[in-house]
Assembly symmetry: D2
Homo-oligomer: 245 residues x 4
Amino acid sequence: MCTGKTIRIVVWNEFQHEKKNDKIAAIYPNGMHGAIAAALKQNAAFEVSTATLDMPGCGLGGDILANTDVLIWWGHMAHGQVPDELVQKIYDRVQEGMGLIALHSSHASKIFTKLCGSNSVNLKWRESDDKEILWVVDPTHPITVGLGKDHIILEREETYGEHFDIPAPDELIFVSWFTGGEVFRSGFTYKRGLGKIFYFRPGHETFPTYHNPAVLQVIENAVHWCAESAFVKPVYGHYKEPLVK
Amino acid sequence: MCTGKTIRIVVWNEFQHEKKNDKIAAIYPNGMHGAIAAALKQNAAFEVSTATLDMPGCGLGGDILANTDVLIWWGHMAHGQVPDELVQKIYDRVQEGMGLIALHSSHASKIFTKLCGSNSVNLKWRESDDKEILWVVDPTHPITVGLGKDHIILEREETYGEHFDIPAPDELIFVSWFTGGEVFRSGFTYKRGLGKIFYFRPGHETFPTYHNPAVLQVIENAVHWCAESAFVKPVYGHYKEPLVK
Amino acid sequence: MCTGKTIRIVVWNEFQHEKKNDKIAAIYPNGMHGAIAAALKQNAAFEVSTATLDMPGCGLGGDILANTDVLIWWGHMAHGQVPDELVQKIYDRVQEGMGLIALHSSHASKIFTKLCGSNSVNLKWRESDDKEILWVVDPTHPITVGLGKDHIILEREETYGEHFDIPAPDELIFVSWFTGGEVFRSGFTYKRGLGKIFYFRPGHETFPTYHNPAVLQVIENAVHWCAESAFVKPVYGHYKEPLVK
Amino acid sequence: MCTGKTIRIVVWNEFQHEKKNDKIAAIYPNGMHGAIAAALKQNAAFEVSTATLDMPGCGLGGDILANTDVLIWWGHMAHGQVPDELVQKIYDRVQEGMGLIALHSSHASKIFTKLCGSNSVNLKWRESDDKEILWVVDPTHPITVGLGKDHIILEREETYGEHFDIPAPDELIFVSWFTGGEVFRSGFTYKRGLGKIFYFRPGHETFPTYHNPAVLQVIENAVHWCAESAFVKPVYGHYKEPLVK
């Protein structure tokens, strides 16, 4: 629906690989967050900023979260360095209605596993430059709009394989194929409190995945989907006067 | 999302009760379809027409269905008079991407049961002027937008009761309470082919339900939701050249 | 649970390919139904019979369906030859509580599409001797019991690919990988009325798939799962005396 | 399925209300855990023990959890006194495959909210001796076996009302009606890791709910359902040799 409202987005990245590895830095000179943010900024309805692990407060201090509609998260080697207090703040903000897009290895981030209610959100993985083909299994979902084709091909990606230890998704949108024989539920949604959550698999740091127009289209669509939250404000707690007496 | 596209809606009503019963005619001088259409016409993005059973071709002949984005259906005493050929055409058009909103006793219409894949889509029912309270169980669903409150009260309605013999909904949005002790899954969604389907319980012919602003808001929201279909056009059939050789 | 009850199974096969093609007959000298039935007969709790298209009444006349707890269905080239009246009888019996296991190309059978409420239940397909790997995505589902491993490998199978035009499954249990780049939701469940339905993809006629112990284990598990139906008998229809007055 | 295996059950109760309030003690002289355990002990396939908050280690120390197949949990006024370390141990054990049945006010227990991934698992509540009617909405689910009727009537219970802030259930089995106009999703399932979870609403301490045969039947059924877990042991982690090279 046309709300005309600006959507306030923060793209968070641990931003470690890019600083430690020249090849990765060459792919993402402004970090993966920079690449994603640059793409989203093309949309005039979006107000986009970025935040990283080594900023004070991980770049999410003060009232930043309170003023964020959708948080995009990329983490991997530094999951453990994100303070528990911050994780709790993000978690609380999701329950209030902030959307969350968890990318790639963020499946194992503190925030995503906490929202899943699953310990490990475990999976199989290999780094072997496999081809990934993401097939659309829900072609009328708004997160697929504009893709045109019923699949996305990524010539080289890290491989993730089932079993993926997640709660049954509310909506399963993409399933991936990999050269080595693996499949993976690579795009799906949950709701927690008044917040909407989208997990999207692609985006290993060693590949230019966040320069791929179809991948960026999915992320942009997911922002729209996640931002449409908190329509009804339920009343909770002690409810003295019943509707019917 | 803001597509700016006009949504073409047909409100179909068997339009029998209104012509046979003066009290019902007094509530709906232009039929229930007329009341619903009048409300939807307030939205400049909607192009709204109506159709009834006793029109030639049930008002859905020629290329009308092909040019309809969302079909709203109200049927009850005359389910059996809707020709099977027309039911098949509507069914085919839903698979292509037309949205369908099935209201009240349309749970037992030929088109809804056929789309459910269930024989009877059976339920319990009583006509005893019970109060109905529809509780929102999915407060972030776009179909609840604008309601504000987490419930809708209808002072008098026909009672439907569980067990409601439907396939497990994709999304359960409303659950109803009735004075006599019944509950009912009264708002939920399915997808079939590229078409989206919303069932909404309220609207017995003897009550002014389709003059209720909250009920009309839900129907308007559902039009938006149902019209957002067919984003990706999957390729089906014999697939000679695999993507990977 | 230990009910100790005998489960009455009919394995239905159109039984056309085996009679027309010597190579297929060599793989299945007693038909695919014969191979499946022979395996199921090893279970002392099962009473197993078979039925085929060219038997009088397609082998399902008289009170056979009324005395069947689980119907296993394999059809392909002769979907159109199954009489609509018989399809309606099977459909009605599923609503009453009979389990249905639809195998492989039965996705396009009259009975399965009718229960899906989808027109075509369309998909992509290739015959190119691809390898199929079925990955378990729901490792605690009873249909996976006894498999041990989290995947089943079939060295050569026909390829089916997404998008598979089905209603969102109630439970998704297997996802398949194929050599040519395809994935497929290859094992999943629905409920219709009091009946339970399991679709299982493997079993192209030109391959010895129904001699594979893991495939047969899944079918045996599915019989147990499908037969556990109709626990509560809901009351439907006009309900004069409400529980609360 | 007939596994013939003994199911090891621990019924855990905070056991506070019964010791502080004579009226409650009169209803449950051996505690609510005692009433539930006594009923379950009638089943020869069950090995039943109990544990309470004021026992050393909350009665769940040593290798007790490791030797428990299904944990039944009742908590209310003392949620905060359950040590976080114990909650983590239970959580880990659920991921490994232990079943969990969360009763009534345990919706707000540390273990249930942690498994939900929702902050509050909030709801509306009133203590006004309302009647509760639990309607079966999934009549073929094994958790309803033996009920016969499609509803359970509890003459007096505490009222819980929607919106209930839970993740969308995997399976919704019961919906409750209350005198004051509320409805509530009162029986539903989740899976987390290899563990199965059933939430069941009834059981306020001031009412003899755990002496009701239908309520006890549901709990017994849920034990069977929850204990059927961990069929396939997925392989996780670095996966050096792909199945296809």
